[in-house]
Amino acid sequence: MLVWTRSGKAIVWTAFAVVFGLLVLLPFLVVIAAAFAGSWNGVLPSDLTGEHLRQALSGDELASLSVSLQTAFMGGLLAVLFGTWGAMAAHGSRFARAADAMHHLPIAVPSVVVGLGLLVAFSRQPVLLNGTKWIVVIAHLVLMVAFSYGTVAAALQRVDPSYADVAASLGASPARVLWRVRLPMLLPAISSAAGLSVALSMGEVGATIMVYPASWRTLPVSIFALTDRGQTFVAAAEAVVLLATTVVLVLILDRLRGRAAER
């Protein structure tokens, strides 16, 4: 603790509460309030209604939620697969630094540029993906693989290589060492990478907006479109749906991770 006096602590806590409340909590509360507002002309919303939420959970908007979930699972889980694979392959090899740099490129490059790049690359034969859902999934995969790779690579740094050595000396084949020792020991990192990827994928806009076809519109893109058209209350209701879904997903994945980390 840097602050020792009672009054000093009070000041620090108050400052924290003001900053946190204004910058983090208030926008959330406003979005939630707007989701249920019939109109908002005064300081507080009025004519509370569930109509926006009902709208956000029907027709095209519900389809958006489904699209978002599918994209997050496909993109996120593929990202975990490739990220884990990449991290394990690069670990200890002399290409580790190069692999680190390559995997972190999608974070360094703005997501809009990633989207544009995919659009340019896959709009023509031989690989024509533009207009299909796969270009969205690939965009998410590319963006999320960096986080998966980073999480798993960091965990690998901490795992003593002698576990794998000892397993091999006990007569286990490389495949057995991988499945019975190395992967189980990485499971906490892998599931935390999965949680991170899915959560980030659920909220991805930048690259998605560059590449999405009309038939595959994710929830954040819908929110953006609705806001753009001035339908702020419905957008807010969709935002609440997105928020709730993401929180539930992350909680479930965290629960799984908790089981894996139980050792």
Partner: protein, 406 residues
């Protein structure tokens, strides 16, 4: 020979971790690889286990060349320093790991796991996870796991280094017991602790800077170290430069009676516990008996220190002479005269109390930069800091070793 290493060399990039290493270990034999950190002892072990690939040389197990075989096909039991028990598996599953990898029938796995845990006294811990065990218990499980596959060779890499002192002493006893229970296998034991090596090993291989320095039966290596490095690393021997002429060997100007000069051996090796300390007064009496050469300082110091002050019972019976003592003094001086010993005059520069004994560090007059460590058993008086003393070096405890790097 169960394990045979011929000219094994391991390079990691530009660093040389092991250079031209030869070793053979027979069945039923325990060989300790002893050396400071970075001496290549762990690398040698890893080469045998197959964890590192030698750049040169061959490794044979039971006559078969295994240099290019992966660890999984060598069938060697390995216990690493931090034990590496698989944290996600229960104790019983850890022990069963090797048996399941070999696809042994379920009943046999269960039976063997039970036997192994019984042997290391962990039978009731099978359902626990490794994190629920203490360091000593984890070590036993690691040994049970390594022995479950019935290896002909067991490699132990600093198995006691992670334990605290009391537990280390207990586990040393456990390992001796284990040795008797699996007499047919060959054990290679890597350690930096000379007491572990002396307690467990039939032969000790002393290593330094990626090379083998000396290898010999433990007792032989201790009694007559072939090199200066071995002498000081194994038992912390004192090494004093000697001069040689046709008459014999002299140290700091004092002739060592009965010690023959040997070609190329220019250091006198003596263990700290073999040296006795005497007050300068006793030395002066001995000098009167016609033995050794004394500096004038010792004679001068006698008055200041006072022989009687050091009159411990043990000292009195064997060494203390002179009129100041009275009683046993006269007889002591006579005995002393017949004992073959060399006496060196010096002063105390440090003393460390170690419970059962004290280690006193002395400087020898006439030997600049050489300090002599002396173990003084509890009960004997430890001279004060700065006090003048006479170090009595019995000739039967002295040997000559070559100077320079092993």
């Amino acid at each position: 020979m169960t394990v045979q290493l011929e000219d094994v060399t391991v390079h990691f990039g530009r660093t040389c971790a092991l250079e031209g290493f030869d070793l053979s270990v027979a069945a039923r034999e325990t060989v300790a690889l002893l050396g400071p950190s970075g001496s290549g002892k762990s690398t040698a072990l890893k080469a045998v286990a197959g964890f590192v690939r030698p750049t040169r040389g061959r490794i044979r197990l039971g006559g078969n060349d295994v240099t290019d075989l992966p660890p999984a096909r060598r069938g060697i039991g390995v216990v690493v320093q931090q034990y590496a028990l698989f944290p996600h598996l229960r104790v019983a599953d850890n022990v069963a790991f090797g048996l399941r990898a070999a696809r042994k029938p379920k009943a046999e796995v269960t039976r063997r796991v039970g036997e192994m845990l019984e042997m290391v006294g962990m039978a009731s811990y099978g359902r626990r996870f490794p994190r629920e065990l203490s360091g000593g218990q984890q070590q036993r499980v690691a040994i049970a796991r390594a022995l479950a596959i019935q290896p002909s060779v067991l490699l132990l890499d600093e198995p006691l280094a992670a334990l605290d002192a009391q537990l280390r002493a207990d586990m040393l006893g456990e390992l001796q017991k284990l040795r008797r229970e699996v007499p047919e296998i060959a054990i290679v034991y890597v350690t930096h602790d000379q007491s572990e090596a002396l307690a467990l090993a039939d032969r000790i291989a002393v290593m330094r800077d990626a090379r083998l320095v000396d290898i010999a039966p433990a007792a032989e290596l201790y009694a007559a170290p072939p090199s200066a490095f071995t002498a000081s690393f194994l038992g912390g021997a004192n090494l004093l430069p000697v001069a040689m002429d046709e008459g014999g060997v002299t140290v700091a100007g004092a002739v060592i009676p009965g010690l023959k000069p040997e070609e190329g051996k220019s250091l006198l090796c003596i263990r700290p516990h073999a040296i006795r300390l005497e007050p300068p007064a006793a030395a002066s009496a001995a000098a009167a008996g016609g033995e050794g050469v004394l500096g004038s300082e010792a004679l001068g110091g006698a008055g200041a220190l006072g022989g009687a002050e050091l009159g411990g019972a043990e000292l009195g019976s064997e060494a203390l002479g002179g009129a100041a003592m009275g009683g046993a003094g006269a007889r002591g001086a006579v005995e002393d005269a017949v004992e073959d010993a060399v006496r060196l005059v010096g002063r105390v520069v440090a003393a460390q109390w170690r419970g059962a004994s004290s280690q006193v560090t002395c400087l020898v007059d006439g030997l600049a930069e050489v300090s002599v460590r002396v173990d003084v058993p509890a009960g004997r008086r430890v001279p004060e800091f700065g006090a003048g003393v006479v170090m009595v070096l019995p000739v039967e405890a002295c040997s000559l070793v070559p100077a320079g790097v092993g």
